[in-house]
Symmetry: C2
Subunit: 370 residues, 2 copies
């Protein structure tokens, strides 16, 4: 099924939408009430190869920044996540699961510590601002919660470091993975992080000030010509192969952080207090009943996964896949989804039902898929 | 600009999406992380005429139901809205603004009182569940907040009552506006309300149980053939002419309920306690600085409003329009937006800048536009 996205002010345009349209965008998604450009004139397979060889410019402004400022800012963030942020330093990025009182996942943002009493949460697709606001009011915290005027531009691919270095100087090469520093752009200080939603390396510029967007896009675009830059987007083949998961696809409020492999990021010894601690400790004690796994499966190219695909063994459902696509590198379909505990290490053949009339056989495989 | 909506599990399908696809849907929007069908093979103008003359079937499942149950359910709902719900009876629907501590609008749902300790909030496009959950945890309320397994099917148009009566009996004619009753469907009790997002009259079936969706769609569709039923969607021309506003379009967290004309629904005398009361009382005392108004303006057909259109008097901005479209009935463009206080009653010509290269002149006009 394909249909056009009907536009309105409610589907918010970004600082870069004019530029993206100028480059012939052909597909959109909507994340956080905002446009996410998903495709241009080339196919998802062409984009995949290009991303692995060159450099791409992505408008990921939909990764909205929920800003939390105040004397209780650290306390509020810690209340929302089982990950211990006590030792976090200014200049660091942390991937943090946010959970409810039953340990159900509400979001899985990247947390940036801007100063001792100021954080940005770079969110996936749910209104985390409203949860943080409800907690702030209910617990009477000294914190101001807002959506920052930030428009993230992602520069991904093996040539990203050379390109960003050409633009902002060699010192950017010293920025470690999931660390950030500040760069100068048109008389403003802007946050540059070594991060991004691919496994090919790259940077994200957290541009503060919407009106600066077109100039930043043009600057990177022009300097990128010698690196064969293209407009792009998070690539489903690349992210599935690399084991990058998506809130709303691989996980919802029905899932807990242990199911998505985040036990290492969860404080389970009672040393810190957070919402959902008791529920999460109980799940850890019992052992989670399902976990995300990769799969490689044959048959003709799979369709788009818009509803979970059952995974079957001898006709019995043992899991479901939630994102998948044909990989031109592996010459097979790749996917990710929840598999029930007894089959995490199963090496034999499984059947995937892609909800079309075809049956496809595959195997569970560790990330990165290869 | 037109581009395809890229599908994924995160853009949730509804109980009726299979049927909607079967009827040749051509345009989607996304509301509450869910598909809202917006157009079929006919134009928005053809749909407008049809809606005013016949009956349409709309998949508005994206109006998610946030269910609040428990001893503190009433207290939680009252905390979130300035509208006094103390006298609300089971079987009633109330349109309630939900505001934050600064009186900024978070959502504008229809509240349904299912029983003395159970409510549904039929929401516009923001994750009100997360706000209610944060408040419940912070204030330690005895309430369970969840998204109900409800898939609203809207039957709108002048022939809706005859059609619904054919299906569920003449007693449905006695249901008053913004009241609900229960009907039998395949051995289940289902909620039927006289409501809907048009001014043409109609009903909404709050179907509980996703798997029942296709059968309900088919039942209404088949019985509707003698009434010239068509698949449809909220129609921008009809709703703008009728003064029906849209959260995310006409109002955001930047706006307060007085600006959207809801003073009559706001308790401003201190008789009830709610979040944002002091801020809202102060705004009421000072007088709101802008309010929604309708406009009719000439010139060629306006484009889709995906960013606010400035309204100018002698080159000076006096407001902005946020939804607009050409009305084939009025043979002019119609729109709605915020106008600053000094010009609410202005009768003269104003200029509308639709962000294309054309200038159009129009006048402020009361709802319904005519």
């Amino acid at each position: 099924m394909t249909a056009e996205l009907t536009m309105s002010r409610r589907i918010r345009r970004t600082a870069y939408t004019d530029r993206v349209e100028g480059m012939g965008v052909t597909g959109f998604s909507v994340v956080n009430h905002m446009i996410l450009p998903k495709s241009f004139q080339s196919s998802v397979e062409e984009d995949y190869w290009h991303l692995k060889e060159h450099v791409q410019l992505w408008d990921v402004s939909c990764q909205r920044q929920i800003q939390i400022v105040g004397l209780d800012a650290t306390r509020l963030v810690q209340l929302m996540t089982p990950r211990d942020i006590g030792a976090m330093k200014v200049g660091e990025c942390l991937y943090i699961p946010i959970i409810d009182q039953n340990a159900g996942l509400i979001n899985d943002p990247v947390l940036l510590k801007i100063s001792s009493e100021k954080y940005w949460l770079s969110i996936a697709d749910s209104d985390l601002l409203l949860y943080a606001l409800g907690l702030t009011i209910g617990f009477k915290l000294n914190a101001v919660v807002s959506e920052a005027d930030v428009w993230t531009l992602s520069i991904q691919g093996p040539k990203a470091e050379d390109l960003v270095s050409d633009l902002f100087g060699d010192q950017i090469r010293k920025i470690g993975f999931f660390k950030f520093d500040w760069i100068d752009f048109k008389g403003t200080k802007q946050l540059l992080a070594r991060s991004g939603y691919s496994r090919q390396g790259g940077f994200e510029i957290y541009l503060e000030g919407k009106s600066l967007g077109p100039d930043l896009w043009d600057l990177v675009w022009e300097a990128g010509q010698i690196y064969n830059i293209k407009p792009g987007a998070p690539n489903i083949i690349e992210r599935v192969e690399g084991g990058l998961f998506s809130y709303g696809n691989e996980m919802t409020r029905e899932n807990n952080p242990l199911e998505i492999g985040l036990k290492k990021f969860c404080s389970l010894d009672g040393s810190i207090e957070y919402i959902g601690r008791e529920a999460l400790e109980k799940i850890a004690l019992d052992g989670e009943t399902q976990q995300l796994r990769g799969m490689i499966f044959d048959g003709p190219r799979c369709p788009t996964c818009s509803e979970p695909w059952p995974v079957l063994l001898d006709g019995k459902k043992i899991g479901q896949l939630t994102s998948g696509m044909y990989s031109p590198r592996l010459k097979a379909n790749v996917a990710v989804g929840m598999i029930v505990r007894d089959f995490w290490e199963y090496k034999g053949a499984l059947e995937v039902n892609c909800l079309d009339s075809l049956k496809r056989n595959g195997i569970i495989s560790a990330f990165p898929l290869k």
